[in-house]
């Protein structure tokens, strides 16, 4: 199980902003292992979506390398790139606006098939029906209705069906349940788990909700201001965070339990602008443990326990 499907090294993305550049992703490295769900968490603007889009080349990386089963994506072009893209699919947060409201559900799901001519005629129709059935949309009663006639949860089901049409290996889910109510969110998360098993999918699950990420992820990576602070097995990282930012983030996540422990350390201040990120460690302006070295030197990722890496000069004391 532990072979690498997608490998990301020193990925950077910056956007022009007047005379300056917004450093949205600043040297991010991680592997996504075949068959796993890797969660990517962090607060808004930290670069999660940009990372996801850069992997697909929906935005162009400004540096670094991304490879899918050893094939470099950042330099691929033309047909090779399009071929790579069918093996990776992305699902977005806003289920309603990511579907064309004026198209019929069947045609939306068939878009990738039609584009690639990978299935036509009755084969295409049968495949679309199968996909719709699998996501819980009745293809007979609802297949010819328009996307605009569906609720957020149903639109997300349709997006999932479309994303599976080309039988991708990797699904990048960007805040895919964030706009949904809990009862519907639970339906979609369960559906995703079922399809993951059925299709043998690997998932990069991007979300800001720490509870949702914990429920789906084998491993979790935490981002802050364009960098990865910490990555490791989900239970280890949640139980014994090694990066000060992860610790604050987790202590701000409220458990739906009136008897949950209440000794909350609240992180002060707000993240600095990615237009002018701090030198050295990007978290240092808010970090209570920051020392001189943190301003001078960006911390490199290092292993604190098996598969658990942290980018901090002074990682938190390990209790295990």
């Amino acid at each position: 199980m532990s072979d690498v499907l997608l490998s990301v090294r020193e990925l950077t993305v910056s956007f022009p902003h007047g005379a300056h550049r917004v450093s949205a992703v600043a040297g991010v490295s991680f592997d996504v292992l075949r068959g796993e769900t890797l969660g990517l968490v962090g607060e808004s603007g930290c670069g999660k979506s940009t990372t996801g889009k850069a992997l697909m080349r929906i935005v162009e990386p400004t540096g670094g390398s991304v490879s899918l089963e050893g094939v470099e994506i950042t330099t691929a072009s033309g047909r090779a790139l399009r071929q790579l893209r069918t093996r990776m699919q992305m699902i977005f947060q806003d289920p309603i606006s990511s579907l064309n409201p004026r198209r019929r559900v069947r045609d939306i799901v068939a878009e990738p098939l039609d584009c690639w001519k990978s299935a036509t005629g009755s084969e295409r129709d049968a495949l679309v029906s199968t996909l719709l059935n699998q996501v819980g949309i009745d293809p007979v009663a609802n297949g010819t209705r328009y996307a605009r006639e569906f609720s957020g949860g149903q639109c997300q089901r349709i997006s999932i069906a479309r994303s599976l049409a080309m039988r991708p290996q990797l699904l990048i889910c960007d805040e895919m349940v964030s706009a949904l109510d809990v009862s519907v969110q639970a339906q979609i998360l369960n559906l995703l788990e079922d399809l993951k098993a059925e299709y043998g999918l690997t998932l990069l699950f991007i979300a800001h909700d720490l509870a949702v990420v914990k429920n789906v992820s084998d491993r979790v990576a935490v981002m802050y201001l364009g960098t990865i602070c910490e990555i490791g097995p989900a239970d280890v990282l949640y139980e014994t965070p090694a990066h000060p930012y992860t610790k604050f983030l987790l202590s701000a996540a409220l458990e739906a339990d009136p008897d949950a422990p209440q000794n909350r350390e609240v992180l002060q201040g707000e993240p600095p602008s990615p237009l002018d990120p701090p030198s050295g460690c990007r978290f240092r302006t808010r970090c209570p443990l920051a020392q001189e070295r943190c301003a001078l030197e960006a911390p490199l990722a290092r292993e604190v326990s098996a598969g658990h890496q942290v980018a901090c000069h002074f990682p938190l004391a390990r209790t295990t």
């Binding site: 607060e43 809990v182 639970a186 509870a211 429920n215």
Partner: protein, 325 residues
């Protein structure tokens, strides 16, 4: 007598598709320095309930019936001038999107000034001094500088702090906060919730905290009401509603929420289907089409909220769950 007493409040919205019962027969009360949480999924009527308590419904498109008494003063049907006086001094509302409460082309300091001058009749210079004090009180760094900022120059968290400063300007006895932290990041949410806690303790204010986030209500409210399809279906102390709920929807809502403590690939208990269309509500319990405990009666007849027990716990269900199940 409670600070706020709501009896049989109903709100009907007149929509192009027909009359929509957004809030139906809601009764609740909030005592001095209590915090009542209201939870429910999107469309369950939380915002409409808050707006109707405030008397902030569009009169042409909505009609309200029932009674809302704040310190014994009836607000339903009150004259606009009386409502304005109450808004100025007794009750303030904080909305999810701080921009709805702020004027984008006016410096934030001036907006607080105006509120203070209108509500408290302060002079220009006294208002300015008090505005800066308020900005400081809500934790805005360099308040003199931020006084001159436009809302668009502030982050979402800072804007919500400004709105809180305005809401607190006249030390109201009740704050209605409608999803005050919903669009914010968790660490900023924690800052804002702590701020509300602190200010509430300092100013002895009561609060209604509306949210769809069970984590927020679990730790920040003393009492809780669960809404479904415009009605309160269960209410009590927050602890009782979490630990001793009787109404199947309450349980379904709690169980469908992912927990930080769950291991990977935890199967969630999803609620089948989705919330009903309020334009097409049937006779019976609105949850019946999705309820695993529904009996024939549930489809025919609507359960009323039970008489509250000694700890104020009440629920609306014909087949209530065993406690502690």
């Amino acid at each position: 007598m409670s600070l706020l007493d709501v009896q049989n409040l109903s709100v009907t919205l007149h929509t192009p598709h027909g009359d929509l019962p957004a809030v139906a027969d809601v009764s609740l009360s909030v005592g001095a320095e209590e915090t009542l949480g209201i939870v429910g999924e999107s469309g369950s009527g939380k915002t409409m309930l808050a707006r109707s308590i405030m008397g902030l419904l569009p009169r042409a498109r909505a009609s309200a019936s029932g009674s809302v008494k704040l310190k014994g003063v009836e607000m339903v049907g009150a004259r606009a001038s009386d409502l304005r006086r109450l808004w100025a001094t007794e009750v303030a509302m904080i909305f999810q999107d701080p921009m709805t409460a702020l004027n984008p082309v006016m410096r934030v300091g001036r907006q607080i000034d105006e509120t203070l001058r209108v509500r408290l009749g302060l002079s220009r210079s006294a208002a300015r001094a008090r505005a800066i004090e308020l900005l400081e009180m809500v934790g805005i760094p360099s308040p003199e500088k931020r006084y001159a900022a436009y809302p668009g120059q502030l982050s979402g968290g800072m804007r919500q702090r400004v709105v809180i400063a305005m809401a607190l300007a006249a030390s109201p006895s009740l704050i209605l906060a409608d999803e005050p932290t919903t669009g914010l990041d968790v660490t900023i949410q924690a800052q804002i919730l702590n701020l509300l806690d602190e200010l509430q303790a300092r100013l002895h204010t009561s609060m209604i905290l509306i949210t769809h986030d069970l984590g927020v209500v679990a730790t920040r409210t003393s009492h809780l009401a669960v809404m479904y399809a415009g009605r309160i279906v269960e209410t009590g102390t927050t602890r009782d509603v979490f630990a001793r709920h009787r109404m199947p929807y309450t349980r379904a809502l709690l169980e469908s929420s992912p927990r930080v403590s769950n291991p990977a690939h935890t199967r969630l208990t999803a609620i089948p289907g989705r919330p009903p269309n309020l334009l097409r509500l049937g006779e019976g319990c609105a949850f019946a089409p999705r309820c695993g405990f529904a009996s024939e009666r549930c489809h025919r007849e609507r359960p009323e909220l039970s008489v509250p027990d000694e700890s104020s716990h009440a629920f609306a269900c014909f087949n209530p769950l065993e406690v502690g199940r």
